[in-house]
Symmetry: C2
DNA sequence: CGTTTGGTTGAAATGTGTCAAACTTTGTGG
DNA sequence: CCACAAAGTTTGACACATTTCAACCAAACG
């Protein structure tokens, strides 16, 4: 059985799929950063999660007819589209494969749970620290971060939408994080200067990412 | 193949499973209300979702070894415990059944996404209205609400932990909702007086619940 | 090199949190 | 069935984290 993948390049700030769509395919991020988001009735955006290479952000569409959120690029991206039908057939034929895909969506759900907690019960300082911790650990797991430094092509306004605070306050909080010597952030490059203190500030425990052993180096 | 279910009765405020556990079984809510939650490093609780009869709140444990959140009862509950092993065997034998379970966990994830948005980008008034809307629609789908009225055995403090605001502010916001004629709430019984305006106040659209057609009466 | 996008700053407004006390309802044991 | 305790709700005063608005600055880009 073959699994035809159609590679597509997208520019920054393009919608890949939109809330309300009924797609017949899903995609994997091959290169670049993307994010899931919703727009509220009064036009505010909430980013629900960041997607990095290796992620399949809309695997859910395999079993949910209508999309309940949108996904857009944060940087230029290379995406690999795969039709639902052949995936479904593979899943029926190989239950272990289905279980592996299922597991991926369960990890996504686990991350959403952590994000509910993050925006619901942590202050701005912690929220931002937490998101940075998560990104480091996930990027390391796919080899996109060495040590404690990685490309972070995310604007302060996007950070605001991810953490549920205002852009201005993100700016001030980033200055605090810098002033406290936890991070260095310039030119879209984030350097974590004090991992232990950043983890503590962000109330971060990587358990919810459900990484396999070999991926846990950073955590 | 048999699927042995062990029924268990629990009192109010009992933990069913705890963050960090590695369960070998999962459960369904047969009667009563429960909730998933996390406790942050500084001891604040975030409720991640409410569970009503028919839900299988920890189905995720089938494929994730370690629990990343706790689940506790909000009222006296009757739970049905089922071992993972027989479920896994059934899923391998009947891919359609696996897909149905998978779909359930995908809906859970969709609800978490909505909750991220709720606590991240809506004000207190909207957040509470939203949660009420969700509960009505879900309870109607399982026949536990008639018209626009249902048993809501949830304290203001639990409401606070679900919406990421303080207990005192929940109290004041509930008074606002009452004062505006949207709801009536006494003796753990919630009556929605103006469904259209409550939906609008809560920025509520039931799509994210992914109900099958016959369940959508209320939405 | 001008234009756009993103970052930074200050001042004022505000939603929400905190604290502490009083009140009400519910549950329980005598 | 009353009395008491416990749990939950309500209130007021005040503190404060965060938002909003508006302007300015810096960097990226064609």
């Amino acid at each position: 059985m073959r699994l035809p993948i159609q590679a597509v390049d997208l520019r920054t700030d393009q919608d890949v799929i939109r809330e309300g769509d009924r797609p017949s395919r899903c995609f994997a991020v091959l290169e670049g950063f993307a994010c899931s988001f919703k727009i509220t009735g009064v036009g505010k955006r909430q980013i629900l999660g960041f997607h990095i290479p290796g992620d399949m952000p809309d695997l859910q569409s395999l079993h949910l007819e209508v999309l309940d959120c949108s996904i857009g690029t944060l940087t230029p991206c290379k995406l690999g589209f795969i039709q639902h039908e052949p995936i479904r057939e593979l899943c029926e034929a190989y239950p272990r494969l289905a279980a592996a895909f299922w597991r991926e969506t369960l990890i996504d759900a686990s991350i959403f749970r952590e994000w509910v907690t993050n925006v619901g019960r942590r202050d701005a300082y912690s929220r931002i620290a937490h998101v940075m911790c998560e990104l480091l650990v996930r990027l390391r797991a796919v080899g996109l971060a060495e040590d404690h430094q990685f490309e972070l092509p995310i604007t302060q306004s996007e950070f605001a939408d991810a953490t549920g605070i205002s852009t201005v306050h993100v700016n001030r909080t980033l200055q605090e994080l810098r002033g406290d010597g936890l991070i260095q952030l310039k030119r879209e490059k984030l350097t974590i200067l004090d991992w232990d203190r950043l983890k503590e500030a962000g109330d971060f425990d990587a358990t919810y990412l459900h990484l396999k052993r070999q991926d846990q180096a950073a955590a």
